[in-house]
């Protein structure tokens, strides 16, 4: 029981670390929160809405994302898109990620 809980926590920590990169990488075209959530899920990354929405707000506060409210199907939706600043740091983050993957692959081989 304790082992399962520990494993879940570790997996959660691992995922949490990559959500920022995942979200930024998918917001080249504008998307609202739920569509992004579904897209990430379709690609294999299950993210809790309680994690994603506050993260999107933080990234916007940091200037990495921009958002705008749009009225669609009689429902207002907040659309997010990567900002100029976000576009600048995304390649660096990708490079960093590639480095981590390469190192971890070597370690875990």
């Amino acid at each position: 029981m304790a082992n399962t809980e520990s494993l879940e926590n570790v997996v959660l920590e691992l995922r949490r670390g990559v959500i920022t990169l995942a979200a930024l990488s998918q917001l080249g075209t504008e998307q609202y929160g739920y569509s992004l959530l579904k897209q990430l899920s379709d690609l294999g990354l299950e993210v809790d809405q309680g994690t994603l929405y506050p993260l999107l707000r933080r990234l916007e506060a940091q200037g990495l994302l921009e958002s705008v409210w749009k009225l669609e199907e009689a429902r207002p939706r907040r659309y997010y898109v990567i900002s100029a600043e976000g576009k600048k740091i995304l390649p660096k983050m990708k490079k960093e990620w590639a480095g981590i993957v390469s190192v971890m692959d070597k370690m875990l081989a």
Partner: protein
Amino acid sequence: MKLIDRYVTEVSKRLPLVKGRKDIENELRSTMEDMLEDRAQKSGKPADEAMEIELLKEYGAPQKVAETYNPTPYLIGPRLFPMFIMVLKIVVAAVTLAMTVVTIIQIVTLYPMTGMEVLKVIGEGLLNIVSASIGGFGNVVLVFALIERFAPAAEIKMDEDEKWDPTSLMKEPEPSDIKPWEPILAIVFLFIVMSIFNFNRQFLSLSYSDHAVWFIGFGDFVADKQGSIPLFSAAFFRWLPLMNAAWLVEIILNGMLIRSGRWDISTRLLSIGVKVLQIVINVLLLTGPFILGFTVEGLTAIHLDAETAQVIFSAMKQGMPILLGLGIFGSVVEIIKTGYKAITQKQSVGA
């Protein structure tokens, strides 16, 4: 959709006072409506209340959802916590010291007073220390909580890394390890002292025997004893409860040293506490009546001639305040040394 609206209102009530609160509400509502619509499409029937309930259950308690939007879920976060603890210790120590000094001054200025009055002043002093420490704690928490809340992270950089110089490790550190026999010896000695002062006062006497020798203690065990006078007066034993307290704390301190095998922050702070108590006792002894049991008459009764008795009495009377004064000075020096070691140890641990 009624339930979703009510749910959003419940979440909103619990949201921290952040900018864009309305935005959060709208986004939450819109997302939940999207999710509900999605589920309705998948199930092939229109969304109903049961579906809403299922969705809300999955989304979780409003409090939990609101917490995810809290940018600082701490009263005092990890960024400020080490500094908070350091300031808190300093404030509580300073308040305790100040209140102790105030109590001593009260005792000295109100002297002479009965035992009960002294106990009352000491009791009030202890209560003042507790209430002032709680007040100090509250103020420090308030200040740090306000800094945490309103000072942007960028403005308070914990630049320990920039300041810290690895070459500082080249300086030989003060040895913190202690030999195990030292605290054991100290405890044994303290027990002997406590036992003598509390239960075997006959050892605290100056006696004269038939063999024309004076000796301290063991008065009751010498058959040919001619006369005996106590070493300490009643004024001295009035403060015995306080002395017992100091000795007990010192025994506890040595017990902690045996367990840990080295000086650390808590043992150093306790050691400072013992020294403060010793200063208090020395001040009380210094400002009260003569603490030795000698009188000229008593000294002549144990076969000293009148002139020698007078000289010894005068020397003791004048010498004792000097001895007590030196004791106080020594304790102050020890407090400064121990405080310095505690701070430097803290810094090296922190670094």
